[in-house]
């Protein structure tokens, strides 16, 4: 795999994990994504957009797979199914249980809302990039994001980690 593609392996896997809600399916999807990207690597003109391109491939593969197999869309597993964390993030003073609850709440959102919120919050993509990945319009992505944020705040009223760098939204 090209080094420039390979550096995004963890991000691709984690996005695949959100899409599939299953560790094995996520690994398959991530592998297929990298394989597809490697095969069509000549189409990637701007290396700076590799991550967005990879996410788009993953989302397309997953959507096509759902269409072909008529699989149910991803849904959250039990909260205690979240694997061990090897390195707790320092920026967020919450416990593993809270992180697991947050992930479970995220995974309970409808797929489009979940994906928009994940790509914004966890990957820091812009609205335009999110719209590209999910093949939708920026206005539709914004609308989904607004609903997703509202639902998640309702589901997680008691989780209150303090960010380490206030004043920098996004």
């Amino acid at each position: 795999v090209s080094d420039r593609l390979e550096e995004w392996l963890p991000q691709v896997y984690r996005f695949a994990r959100r899409l599939t809600a299953d560790a094995d399916a996520a690994e398959d999807l991530a592998q297929e994504t990298l394989l597809r990207a490697w095969r069509h690597r000549s189409r990637l003109r701007d290396q700076g957009s590799a991550r967005v391109w990879l996410f788009r491939i993953a989302a397309n593969l997953w959507r096509d797979g759902l269409r072909r197999k008529r699989l149910p869309t991803a849904h959250a597993g039990p909260v205690d199914d979240v694997p061990d964390s090897p390195r707790p993030p320092e920026r967020c003073a919450v416990g593993r249980e809270d992180l697991a609850r947050a992930l479970a709440a995220l995974d309970r959102l409808p797929p489009r809302q979940r994906d928009v919120l994940y790509l914004l919050a966890c990957e820091g993509l812009s609205i335009a990039e999110i719209a590209t990945v999910l093949r939708t319009s920026p206005a539709a992505a914004k609308a989904s994001l607004s609903v997703a944020r509202k639902k998640l705040r309702e589901q997680l009223p008691d989780l209150d980690p303090e960010p380490d760098q206030p004043g920098q939204p996004r």
Partner: protein, 159 residues
């Protein structure tokens, strides 16, 4: 005029720089927006930490690399098979057009050979076959160039 209605665009970083600076000033005088910004930051920090807490399966990168290598070998193997089939087809076709001189000894053995038709298909359409002149009338060499258009495209871009 900046107002609370710009809050959503501010939160997702979708405001132009000048309006963003204006909204920063607006935050000083609007407790509601200030609280919304803090709440958003908390939610983002929580989700980011939650996503990063998910481990990557051990050996995942190695499995991806080996799968890509395997698939690459398969594609090269298929291409080599195609080239071999193309060469066989050209050779048989040539034998039919230019039959070898009669060989008495071979006639005595009375072995009849019927040229078989070989059908060759190329996966994908970007293949160019170029015939190479050969000294022997019973032999034809063909160079097969896969993905020629992509190569041309790349070389144009390099220029």
């Amino acid at each position: 005029m900046i107002a609370c209605t710009d809050l959503d665009d501010y939160l997702i970083g979708d405001l132009p720089d000048d309006r963003r600076r204006q909204f920063d000033v607006h935050l000083l005088v609007c407790p509601g927006c200030r609280e919304a910004v803090h709440e958003h930051e908390r939610l983002i920090a929580l989700l980011r930490a939650a996503a990063e807490s998910e481990p990557i399966p051990p050996g995942f990168a190695d499995r991806v690399r080996s799968r890509v290598r395997r698939r690459r070998r398969m594609r090269l193997g298929a291409l080599a098979g195609t080239v071999a089939a193309a060469a066989a087809f050209v050779w048989v076709h040539n034998r039919r057009l230019n039959p070898p001189l009669p060989d008495r000894a071979a006639d005595d053995r009375a072995v009849a050979v019927t040229p078989a038709e070989v059908r060759v298909t190329f996966p994908g359409s970007n293949v160019l076959a170029v015939r190479e002149p050969a000294a022997s009338p019973g032999m034809t060499f063909v160079w097969v160039y896969p993905n020629l258009s992509q190569e041309l495209h790349k070389s144009r871009n390099r220029r």
